[in-house]
Subunit: 230 residues, 2 copies
């Protein structure tokens, strides 16, 4: 095993909060049972996000979400501990995909190039263009009660990206095995994700309909420049 992914083997530092039926134990679609579980979970999550956007975060009750998903209020809590968790569940799932986005970059591409491209692609392929996603982003960034869940999204992104970076480092740089590859991957992922967050926040505070992409590219360029030329 040696190093592994360097992310998922720690004793639960930022794990989820629910353990009930909502726990996704395997991507394998065992049977009708698993599919129904996933469907209910997604139904609840979508309903939560939709209602929160329509009425405002404080004007939606767990009861409403459960009703919209056509399950009992008690069942809601079998899947999610809080309505905030339900609202951000889709975001967490999406965040986990950034690793594959990096893995899809051509192998001959430089590491930094690949990472930057993956991040840009991830944020663009996301629904970061339509005003609906803009509003949901605003909600997540402003509401104090969603801060913890947003942090969970970011953590997921960081871990997924770190895992993919570690693979790429291991594949390309078996030569310089002196440094701790896992550490380097984690640091790199953390720095890039943090930079992306800066870009998103700045994009959010300057209302103008300027695209996110240039801000993202600028910020990433600044990261590289700042560390290279003190």
């Amino acid at each position: 095993m040696s190093t592994g992914t360097g992310a998922a083997e720690v004793p639960e530092v930022g794990g989820p909060a629910t353990q009930g039926p909502g726990a996704v134990e395997s991507t394998h679609a065992h049977g009708l049972r698993e599919r129904k579980k996933l469907a209910t979970r997604e139904e609840l999550s979508r309903a939560a996000l939709r209602l929160a956007m329509e009425r405002g975060l404080d004007n939606v009750l767990v009861e409403d979400i459960a009703a919209a998903a056509e399950v009992s209020p008690r069942t809601f809590n079998n899947y999610f501990a809080t309505k905030y968790e339900a609202i951000c569940a889709l975001g967490v799932e999406r965040a986990a995909q950034i690793g594959d986005t990096l893995r899809r970059r051509p192998p001959e591409e430089g590491l930094w190039q690949a990472i930057a491209a993956a991040v840009v692609t991830h944020y663009e392929s996301g629904h970061f263009c339509d005003p609906a996603a803009m509003a949901s982003l605003k909600m997540v960034l402003t509401s104090p009660q969603l801060r913890g869940e947003h942090q969970r999204i970011v953590t997921t992104m960081r871990e997924a990206l770190a895992a993919a970076i570690a693979e790429r480092l291991a594949a390309a740089g078996a030569a310089c095995a002196e440094v701790d590859l896992a550490l380097r991957a984690e640091v790199l992922a953390a720095a890039v994700i943090a930079t992306a967050q800066v870009a998103v926040r700045r994009w959010f505070v300057v209302r103008p309909a300027t695209a996110l992409r240039p801000l993202l590219e600028d910020a990433l360029a600044q990261l590289q420049a700042a560390l290279r030329a003190p």
Copy 2:
């Protein structure tokens, strides 16, 4: 106004949640009133942290905290919206000091050197050595309910550090005014703080009583190395 601090002028992206008497409107100690407010706030915060450490996070009620601070349970909610906010309030205050820690570095020191030294100093001067702080750190890192508040601590650190970095950039690098200094400061601060978090997390998951400092220095070195030599 032009650039300002680049952190505190945005329309509340990650602001606090309480607006009552607990709001610290100015550092100016106007009179007995302000001092008493601060005292009560600190009393509540200390009691919250102490009780949470003694009994465990779930075995402490807001009623207990209020009793320990000798105020009404209702008064507690005038200062803090949740007990988690109270527990982390001291951490937030401390996080805000990292800016001054950087400002105290000698001006002739290089920017990167100064930042790294400031971060190391901040984490060392903190109570990150005694086992009590270790336990509180564990609590903050593990409990899902404290994640949001921990995020607030990190955000505060990032903003404070970014402000100080911006000053240093403005003071030293008036020559290359082409780049957006505020952006560079924010990106740099975000990357460094994120890296520090990686170090702290790794230090936390590897039980051994190894000091935090070398891990921190390693991680920061990796950050610089990773961006300089792809």
